[in-house]
């Protein structure tokens, strides 16, 4: 029995076939190290990395591909952005829907006495009111960090309004697009995003171990201090680390096989019939379908995602009298359904929706899921409730 995979917010599965083959080919044939020599295999690897850089730039509406900096994941991109922007005595604004990959670097910086930060509270359905961000601005506020789509509730934040207010108040906007990249249409300039942080292995359908920090064409990269220094294949005769993009923030050998796969993931999304708008609508309809039917059919079902709100394909729920871990284990062992339980690395978000510390069961849908799989999961959950 094939697994029913509802854990796409952790990592998407399956991937398009071209992702698998490109990773394999890159390992087997394209074994060179990009930018480290002038032989054909090194150049070919460099061209592959460049083509992925360019594909990502185009996908998010950035003109200069050098402004795409490859990272291991969204966490690394967010650390690079947050720690790179920190200056003594500055203030940051973030929200209660953030992942630990934003909250922990902020907390560490605050502990060191370098910065302080304000957490803007979302409503119980996970939505941020931009006015609350406006009200939190202080004279020393430097940046706003927003989780574009929640990995707990699937709530999509009003990034256009938030972007406008950041621009108007001369604040740097960092968008955590770990869940939204490849799922929700994003144009970096139209949204006034300065720094977009993403992972490659979720909505963009690439391999794990890929991510990027993308700087808008207008953002002054001198605002950011690098976290890593080392080999770039450029200006090797000097001890000073290069200050041009992407080398300023990208050193050491890249995950070239992963990047090869990411290219095919982005290519798949870019050429998806109807485009990313269809992907977005499909995931939204999976969430809506699941919530509507589960509410009707499963006794004691409480959902923390609102079926009437735009959703990125992520639904959190609990069933009265059965723990989240019991549900996920039972689904996995008895029905081959993969889901996730717990706090999803976002404890403050769970406080906001009222599910801390017990957490929730999370179903996160991907583009390869079907309505029939959702139906099967509801039958399975109903059976579990009836057996109890």
């Amino acid at each position: 029995m094939n697994p029913i995979y509802f854990d796409n917010a952790a990592t998407s599965f399956p991937k398009p076939d071209a992702v698998y083959t490109s990773v394999y080919n890159c390992m087997q044939v394209g074994g060179g190290n990009p930018g480290r020599s002038g032989h054909k295999m090194s150049i070919a690897a460099g061209q592959l990395v460049f083509k992925t850089r360019k594909a990502l730039a185009e996908f998010f509406g950035v003109r200069n591909p050098m402004r795409v900096i490859f990272t291991l994941n969204a966490t690394e991109a967010l650390n690079l952005a947050i720690i790179g922007l920190a200056r003594k005595g500055t203030h940051f604004i973030t929200t209660s829907m953030e992942h630990n990959s934003t909250l922990r670097p902020l907390h560490e910086l605050q502990k060191k006495g370098l910065i302080n930060y304000t957490i803007v509270e979302a409503s119980a359905d996970g939505l941020i009111d931009p006015v609350k961000i406006l009200d939190s601005i202080q004279t020393n506020t430097r940046a706003v960090i927003i989780n574009h789509a929640s990995n707990v509730t699937g709530t999509i934040q009003p990034i256009l309004e938030i972007g406008k207010l950041c621009r108007k108040n001369n604040l740097i906007l960092i968008a955590d697009c770990a869940q939204s990249a490849g799922t929700v249409p994003i144009h970096i300039a139209e949204s006034n995003i300065d720094i977009l942080c993403l992972t490659g292995h979720k909505g963009l359908l690439g391999p794990r171990g890929t991510g990027a920090m993308i700087l808008s064409d207008e953002f002054d990269e001198q605002e950011l201090t690098p976290l890593k220094f080392g080999g770039t294949g450029s200006l090797s005769d000097r001890i000073d680390h290069p200050d041009f993009l992407p080398d300023k923030f990208e050193c050491g050998t890249l995950n070239v096989p992963g990047i090869a796969g990411l290219y095919e993931g982005v290519n798949f999304i870019s050429n998806f019939p109807g485009g990313i708008a269809v992907i977005s609508a499909t995931k939204n309809s999976f969430s809506r379908n699941f919530i509507t039917h589960a509410k009707n059919q499963i006794k004691g079902f409480t959902c923390y995602s609102d079926e009437n709100m735009r959703n990125s394909g992520v639904v959190s729920f609990n069933i009265e009298g059965i723990s989240a871990s019991e549900i996920t284990q039972w689904l996995s062992e008895n029905h081959n359904i993969m889901s996730r339980q717990g706090l999803h690395c976002a404890p403050v978000a769970h406080k906001t929706i009222g599910t801390f510390p017990q957490g929730t069961v999370r179903f996160s849908f991907g583009i390869f899921n079907t309505f029939s799989e959702i139906e099967q999961s509801i039958s399975a959950l109903s059976r579990l409730v009836n057996e109890k």
Binding site: P34, G35, R36, S37, G38, H39, S42, I43, G46, Q47, V49, F50, R53, K54, N64, P65, M66, T232, G233, S234, L235, S236, D237, P242, F244, P246, D247
Partner: protein, 74 residues
């Protein structure tokens, strides 16, 4: 005669190669000739007759480059 366009960054060289090719300039990535630099990276080789055209394109796309050296000179 051939010329090579030198860059501080191999990433910029790769971008330049693509832009030049898209604009019908025969461009090829090669190792930076030893006489020019001992750097580990690569540069873009073009036909010397297309030097001006190449320079204009790099300026248009804001791709920073260093000197353009004629291979005969080295």
């Amino acid at each position: 005669m051939k010329s090579v366009i030198l860059f501080d960054s191999t990433n910029l060289a790769l971008w330049a190669e693509e832009i030049l090719k898209e604009n019908d300039i025969t461009a090829k990535m090669i190792s930076v000739p030893r006489k020019i630099s001992s750097d580990c990276g690569y540069c873009v080789m073009i036909d010397s007759t297309q030097k001006q055209q190449a320079e204009k394109l790099l300026l248009k796309y804001n791709i920073d480059h260093n000197e353009i050296a004629d291979l005969e000179d080295i």
